[in-house]
């Protein structure tokens, strides 16, 4: 069955609905008189138009506008709730980074334990509080550092004891300036014949 290719065919839906201009209505009606295919199509379209749809209950229409706005507000709130954790999580992460970066510069002195200047106290053997900062670096160094701790305080250069650049953070060692590290290494090499210093640096 070959379909009619006449352009009138495209006007059939409006013809069935009666929404065409009078002239067009006549043109389509004339075409239908001689075209069986379009007559068949017209009958299909009329059937489609005859469909009776189920009516919603009256309350549906009256309550619809209110339901739409309340549901939209509820969705917006849900969306906001979903956004909050991501935002606060990011802020928390940023805060941690900032605090971590600022910590060395702002770390208050009092956090360092009071130096023990008593006989046998650690302050007499090593720079103030240094042993407590280094020890957490790695347990494997503790035995070696014990040898370092046995150093005589008098053999430690003054510049090492007084340097303000000796900033310890995390494992502590990498934040020393190069000059201080060199002094520290030389000191260890000098005082420990087994090359403990090399081990510390490795």
């Amino acid at each position: 069955m070959k379909a009619c290719q006449d352009r009138v065919r495209e006007l059939l839906p409006e013809f069935v609905q009666g929404t065409l201009e009078p002239q067009q209505m006549i043109r389509v009606a004339d075409h239908l008189d001689g075209c069986a295919q379009c007559v068949l199509e017209e009958s299909v379209l009329r059937r489609l138009g005859d469909e009776v749809l189920p009516e919603p209950p009256p309350w549906f229409w009256t309550s619809l506008p209110g339901k739409i706005t309340s549901e939209a507000d509820a969705r917006r709130k849900r969306k906001m709730r979903l956004l909050v954790p991501a935002w606060t999580g990011g802020l928390a992460a940023a805060a941690i980074v900032v605090v971590t970066l600022l910590q060395p510069a702002t770390a208050p002195g009092p956090q360092t334990p009071e130096p023990d200047f008593s006989i046998g106290g650690t302050a007499g053997m090593f720079p103030l509080g240094l042993e407590e900062e280094i020890l957490p670096v790695s347990g494997m160094f503790i035995d070696d550092l014990d040898q370092v701790f046995s150093m005589d305080l008098n053999s430690v250069p003054d510049e090492f004891l007084s340097t303000p650049d000796l900033i310890l953070e995390g494992d502590g060692y990498e934040t020393m300036d190069e000059e201080t590290i060199q002094v520290f290494e030389d000191l260890i090499d000098e005082m420990t014949p087994e090359g403990v210093g090399k081990k510390v640096m490795s």
Partner: protein, 182 residues
């Protein structure tokens, strides 16, 4: 018609500014046609009610993103079409037109009435089984009276593609009417 377009633009403009009463007027303006459209697509009133509400909610939430490149009705029907597509995608079972609610011809002869009922049932069953795009094109063109250009906008395709979908659907229904589809 021009008055309606002007009124629609004004209401959309106010709704974009957050005027919920203006949006409620838009709802009243299109609720019937949107429900009918969704009823034809979904094949049952309950789904159509749910989809109507959801479509309006989506339109309300996204009204600020509506750029006015088409009419608000077209925009709304496109949202509704996508909602319907998502629904059928999510469901494994198919819904069918509630045949009992389809009006019957006023035939007094019970046998004739039965025959007509059977024929009508078969016709609507075929409409229901049409591929989604063909069904959309048919409903928009015939039952909503959209020109092909608007049908294409709602379907999100070219005018040629909308025409092709429509003609395929009509040809299938013609074959069903003549009994040549057996």
């Amino acid at each position: 018609m021009t008055d309606q377009i002007t009124l629609e633009r004004e209401l959309v403009s106010r709704a974009r500014e957050g005027d919920s009463e203006a949006f409620e007027d838009l709802v009243r303006m299109y609720q019937d046609s949107l429900y009918r459209y969704l009823c034809r697509l979904s094949g049952n009133g309950e789904d159509a009610m749910e989809l109507t509400q959801n479509s309006f909610v989506k339109a309300y939430v996204s009204i600020r993103r509506f750029r006015g490149e088409s009419s608000f009705k077209t925009y709304l029907f496109r949202i509704a079409t996508n909602s319907w597509k998502n629904t059928i995608r999510d469901r494994s079972k198919r819904h069918h037109v509630d045949i009992e609610q389809v009006s019957l011809a006023s035939a007094h002869n019970p046998h004739e009435e039965f025959e007509q009922n059977q024929e009508r049932r078969k016709f609507w069953s075929l409409v229901e089984r049409l591929p989604a795009r063909q069904k959309q094109a048919l409903v928009l063109r015939v039952q909503e009276g959209y020109p092909f250009e608007e049908v294409a906008k709602v379907m999100g395709c070219s005018t040629g593609s909308a025409k092709a979908s429509y003609h395929h659907a009509v040809e299938k229904l013609k074959l069903a009417v003549t009994g040549e589809d057996r």
